[in-house]
Chain length 286, copies 2
């Protein structure tokens, strides 16, 4: 017997927002593909292709994927899934004492660019409901191969503006969480330049929480394309490309060894192709 | 207080064999690099370079690495380490009830070739001693991008010959274990064409067990170079190379998500560079 505390209106509103944000981000990325001022200007602009999948236990999702002249590989996925957590996983999540039922919806994005001078990025927001809890989670982090201080500052600043409108305590907390989360323990290095990360977010005011998550998504949708455009026309060297492939190797290590979303997906019978869409188009361990 | 059941002579003999096998295999691979009949014959033959590392808690190892004209990246590592298992890991290993002390020595090898028509391969043998147990483990498996039935049969056959000299029950058991172990669960596919895998191997006759492990190593040392030579001169297409990069992506997924040796190394404070040497020089997730 599945019981979920989140009511139908809440579930529909959250899932609809994630789908809307997906469409807005895809449009923003296709607009970048259309601009002529990129290094591979002789190639055709890329377009997203979408693929639906069904989860036998309940729900499904839509994978969006584009391989273009700016974006070497970018995946923007939405999914809404429900059912019962496997026992092993259940005990690690709140609100599952009485029932293993869950409902989860989210949007997640990983962008790998051709240019080693354009930062890669990750963004994700989700709403999860178990029998006794509802919460939001998500975040975004910037993964430049060659960090540029103003890019990092602007990326962080966009999230800080949103956070500060809700609670001045959010940004320092979520930034620190991001730095701690996206850390490659075995190498002792950060995965990238950080951003924000939050989980189990529930202030008791659902409308305010979903509005916060919405604004976090809009902030990413606006700042990341701006950062891409800054570096679109810069030519790169084979050495820079080689370093990019190596950094992508670290990125793959993080996702396969530590990422909570990868684990959540694989342990809840998610779509393997969608879960592993985050892996880089090419990587190197020289 | 460290107490280890394996006596000094046993430890020295095992570690010495692993080092000797390392040298024999490196010589065999360098001999292949010297042969003119390969696709990149205009390039210089590769040579192994060796790098020692010390483990602060006790022991260390030597990484051997070659990037040549046949071998795109091959690592042949030996290590001998000792100390105390971390609590989390200890309970999962036999003979650790009274003490967390361990001693471990082994040789491990992963070969990634330029040619998508030459199979990649993995080989490893090790001796582990805890306070109350001594055992051997290891195995070898073949990872062709385009399986060839006679290659697989000869690779399996070389191990079967050794196994059958010790116990006719070994080969079926160790082959099955290999098929089960090198299986990429989330994709529902085998990592490669298998071979043998064994662990916790202790018949009560240490001399016989180390002799078995020795012959397993010699079998690999002889059959794998023979398989490489079969395909050395075959030209390949860009499409075949692309498939190779994709299969290597699966290989990286296996090693980071499931491999026991990777986990053992990272959890016992091993050398990260040595542990992750198995990762492919280039990989793709298109």
């Amino acid at each position: 017997m599945i019981t979920v505390l989140a009511d139908t209106a809440q579930r529909e509103a959250a899932a609809a927002w994630f789908a809307a944000l997906r469409s807005q981000i895809c449009a923003a990325f296709e607009a970048i593909e259309d601009e002529a001022d990129c290094v591979f200007k002789d190639r055709a602009p890329g377009r997203f292709t979408f693929k639906e999948w069904q989860r036998p236990e309940g729900g499904g999702g839509i994978m969006g994927m584009m391989k273009g002249r700016v974006f070497e590989k970018v995946g923007v996925n939405i999914s809404t899934v429900w059912g019962d957590f496997a026992e092993e996983f259940r005990s690690r999540l709140p609100g599952t004492e009485k029932s293993s039922a869950f409902w989860a919806s989210g949007v997640s994005l990983v962008a790998h660019l051709h240019s080693p001078l354009v930062p890669a990025a990750h963004f994700n927001t989700r709403m999860i409901s178990t029998a006794d809890k509802i919460w939001f989670g998500g975040g975004g982090d910037l993964n430049p191969m060659y960090p540029v201080a103003t890019d990092t500052a602007d990326f962080h600043g966009a999230f800080k503006d949103v956070c500060d409108r809700y609670d001045p305590a959010y940004f320092p907390k979520f930034k620190k969480w991001c730095d701690e989360y996206f850390f490659i323990k075995h190498r002792g290095v950060a995965r990238g330049e950080g951003g924000i990360f939050f989980d189990y977010h529930n202030t008791g005011d659902w409308a305010r929480d979903v509005a916060f998550v919405r604004e976090v998504g809009e902030a990413f949708r606006d700042i990341y394309p701006a950062l891409i455009r800054r570096h679109l026309a810069e030519p790169w060297t084979p050495e820079q490309r080689q370093w990019q492939l190596q950094k992508r190797g670290y990125y793959a290590e993080f996702n396969l060894l530590y990422d909570r979303g990868t684990e959540f997906g694989l342990k809840t019978g998610g779509n393997v192709e969608a879960i592993l869409m985050s892996l880089p188009p090419e990587a190197a361990w020289p």
